[in-house]
């Protein structure tokens, strides 16, 4: 019987190929939508899962997460630097790190942050080392810059016509291991450098902790793309870098000597200084990094917080959700986004299902016509003594075989297409999308096979019911 079917298919190979391709493409469409949506969901969730709590100025939750976790460039309102200082001292916090954005280089976003954040969220360096001077940078795994390369940041991005910051140069000190998140495409520099470039936070040592807000949102240059942190979801002990005064003992010889946070304030001087430097900042490449944040730290778009316990996380979120700040769990915000994405997926799935339905209808039409043309052959088979069930099986198997091959091929094409889309997406965003089949795909494959089994039985039943005498007369 198989040989007879194969001989038949060989004879009608062109039609068979068309049927297989038609089915394959319709199936591939649905498979791609499913795989891509799942990959996007998993990939973005993984990108966010190292960041337990994000705190920013009051505004859009979604924007806060997109900017800080996914490094989407867009202006975020700033919140007072006081928040950072307060959180640094909070006993419920394992580590807290500011993120500052706004600059880019060669298409890669520059993110100002702290060593605490980098060491807590990335597994290590594949090359080089952590930055320890203001003029050093650490690049993500996907940034195509060698260790030692010069980075001349541009304000904003090239696409929106940003200007290069004159005289500001970072040197790449190290390259991080891949994380599969947008941070792989980021250039990480000390937050203090970002502040200095934008004329903020100079001479912190001149300011007193109490009551001086170094800058207001208005002072800070506009587009501050979001920054993002890699949280690993584990509880870390307090970072040695936070509140560590040793790191900034050296006098940098440029009058920016850093001292422990208690240095004598000169409020008037500080304010003056800020005005002067607005937008005309430069960095002192050799300055030591001060990661001991005081209340006089400049305004920030976001800080990333690693609470000690889940209870602490909820308490902190509650506390920082009022007034001028907004605290969110990225996972929660993503869940809302997924709901929206789910709607889009529903539409796409409906389109895919529609196309599958159309193909199914076309197939029924084609095969019923085909059975009409084969009436004599089928009649002859019966006349020569082939049992009716054999006739049914031949017609059924022939069509089912084609559709099943098409479905198999469709899953393959869908997988390859989803992988290709994911690769493009990863190149653009840094988010690694885990494309792969899951258990529920087996179910949908079985569902499709079941549907095609029923579909194939339509012409098979027609052939089964055909009177051989009438068929031969035709």
């Amino acid at each position: 019987m198989i040989r007879f079917i194969l001989a038949d298919l060989r004879r009608l190979w062109a039609g068979a190929v068309v049927v297989v391709l038609l089915v394959a493409l319709a199936v591939a469409l649905g498979v791609t939508v499913t795989l891509q949506e799942r990959a996007l969901r998993l990939g973005s969730a993984r990108a966010a899962d190292k960041f337990d709590l994000v705190i920013g100025a009051a505004g859009s939750e979604t924007q806060l997460v997109l900017s800080s976790i996914f490094l989407q460039p867009s202006p975020l309102p700033l919140m007072s630097g006081e928040v950072l200082a307060k959180l640094s001292k909070d006993k419920r916090v394992t580590w807290v790190a500011p993120v500052g954005f706004g600059d880019s280089f060669a298409g890669y976003p520059l993110v100002g942050t702290t060593r605490a954040l980098i060491s807590s969220t990335v597994s290590g360096f594949s090359e080089g080392r952590m930055f320890d001077k203001e003029g050093e940078a650490v690049v993500g795994a996907a940034v195509k810059l060698p260790v030692g390369a010069e980075i001349k940041p541009m304000h904003g991005t090239a696409q929106i016509g940003g200007e290069t910051h004159a005289g500001v140069v970072y040197h790449v000190a190290g390259r991080l291991q891949p994380t599969g998140t947008p941070w792989d495409r980021a250039i990480l520099v000390p937050i203090q450098a970002v502040w200095h470039v934008h004329g903020l936070g100079h001479k912190e040592h001149d300011q007193e902790e109490s009551g001086h807000t170094a800058s207001t949102p208005a002072v800070v240059p506009a587009p501050l793309p979001a920054g993002h942190y890699h949280g690993d979801g584990h509880d870390h002990g307090p970072s040695p870098l936070l509140g560590n005064r040793e790191v900034h003992t050296a006098d940098n010889g440029h009058g920016h000597a850093h001292e422990a946070s208690g240095s004598a304030p000169d409020a008037a001087h500080a304010a003056e200084d800020h005005d002067e430097h607005d937008h005309h900042g430069s960095i002192d490449a050799d300055a030591a990094i001060d990661e001991d944040f005081t209340a006089t730290a400049p305004g920030l778009p976001a800080v990333l917080v690693k609470p000690k316990t889940i209870a602490d996380a909820y308490k902190l979120r509650q506390e920082y959700r009022s007034g001028n700040t907004l605290a969110v769990f990225p996972g929660e915000v993503l869940t809302n986004l997924y709901a929206t994405m789910g709607d889009a997926k529903l539409v796409l799935s409906a389109v895919a299902a529609g196309s599958q339905g159309l193909v199914a209808a076309a197939l029924v039409l084609v095969t019923v016509t085909h059975i009409g043309q084969r009436r004599r052959q089928i009649g002859a088979l019966r006349a020569f003594g082939a049992p009716r069930l054999s006739v049914f099986a031949i017609v059924w198997l022939e069509l089912f075989l084609l559709v099943a091959i098409g479905i198999g091929l469709g899953f393959l094409i869908g997988l390859v297409a989803a992988q290709m889309i994911a690769e493009v997406f990863t190149t653009q965003s840094g988010i690694v999308l885990p494309v792969g089949f899951a258990r529920e795909d087996i179910r949908s494959a079985l569902l499709l096979l079941g549907a095609s089994a029923m579909l194939a039985s339509v012409p098979a039943l027609l052939a089964y019911r055909q009177s051989p005498a009438a068929a031969l007369r035709a």
Partner: protein, 229 residues
């Protein structure tokens, strides 16, 4: 070897006032060699369909060796036909893409009865009908060769009755002569009753008895003169 007895048979189609075939009584003895003739629309094809169980009689009885096939269900008639009837048709109804021997074995294989003995018999039959290349693809054969493959197929399961519907009509004279002789010889050899619908006088001349149908009734039933001419 099968004998046929038909009693009060009537076959009508919806929309036709008179039956397309009406036979009060007909007996064909086992091993007899019968020619059926008649113009188009005389009921020849219907007679073949009824006799082989391809069609169900509207009324009446069709006994083959005493068993009434008119009462059987479609599936059982199929099975009965597969076991007892060898069919040879004007258009051969061979299946392209398959070899000669695969064509001979196809119905038996579909009925799941093709064992080693039957496969050996298929090869032997092809040799007997004069085909030396059993693996030759059917579409590369001449029409005469194709009809010989069809005869081998019809005889594979040693049917009690061999029914041929215009077996020589689509062949040239030489091939037709050849096929006609093969039919008779092989029916003899297999011990099958032979029923041939034909207009081919040379073929009819070799048979024992000639039944002429007209308008669905038996118009003449006589021994063929000059047997074995």
């Amino acid at each position: 070897m099968l004998a046929l007895v038909i009693e009060r048979l009537a076959v009508s189609f919806a929309g036709l006032s008179s039956p397309v075939l009406a036979i009060d009584h007909l007996t064909i003895a086992a091993g007899e060699r019968i020619a059926i003739t008649g113009g188009s629309g005389s009921g020849k094809s219907t007679f073949i369909n009824i006799a082989t169980g391809l069609e169900k009689a509207t009324s009446g009885k069709v006994f083959w060796n005493g068993a009434d096939i008119a009462n059987l269900s479609e599936s059982r008639r199929d099975r009965w036909r597969a076991e007892h009837v060898g069919l040879v048709m004007q258009d051969f109804h061979l299946f392209p893409g398959l070899s000669a021997v695969e064509n001979v074995l196809l119905p038996a294989r579909l009925a799941r009865v093709a064992d080693a003995a039957l496969v050996a018999r298929a090869h032997e039959l092809l040799k007997i009908v004069g085909l030396s290349r059993p693996e030759q693809k059917i579409e590369t054969m001449s029409r005469g060769e194709m009809q010989r493959v069809a005869i081998a197929r019809a005889l594979l399961r040693k049917p009690g009755v061999l029914v041929a519907d215009e077996p020589t009509a689509s062949l040239d004279a030489d091939a037709g002569e050849n096929v006609g002789r093969l039919l008779i010889d092989m029916a003899d050899e297999a011990g099958s009753t032979l029923i041939v619908v034909s207009h081919d006088h040379r073929l009819i001349g070799r048979l024992d008895r000639r039944i002429t149908l007209a308008a669905g009734r038996i118009a003449a039933d006589s021994a063929v003169e000059g047997v074995a001419a």
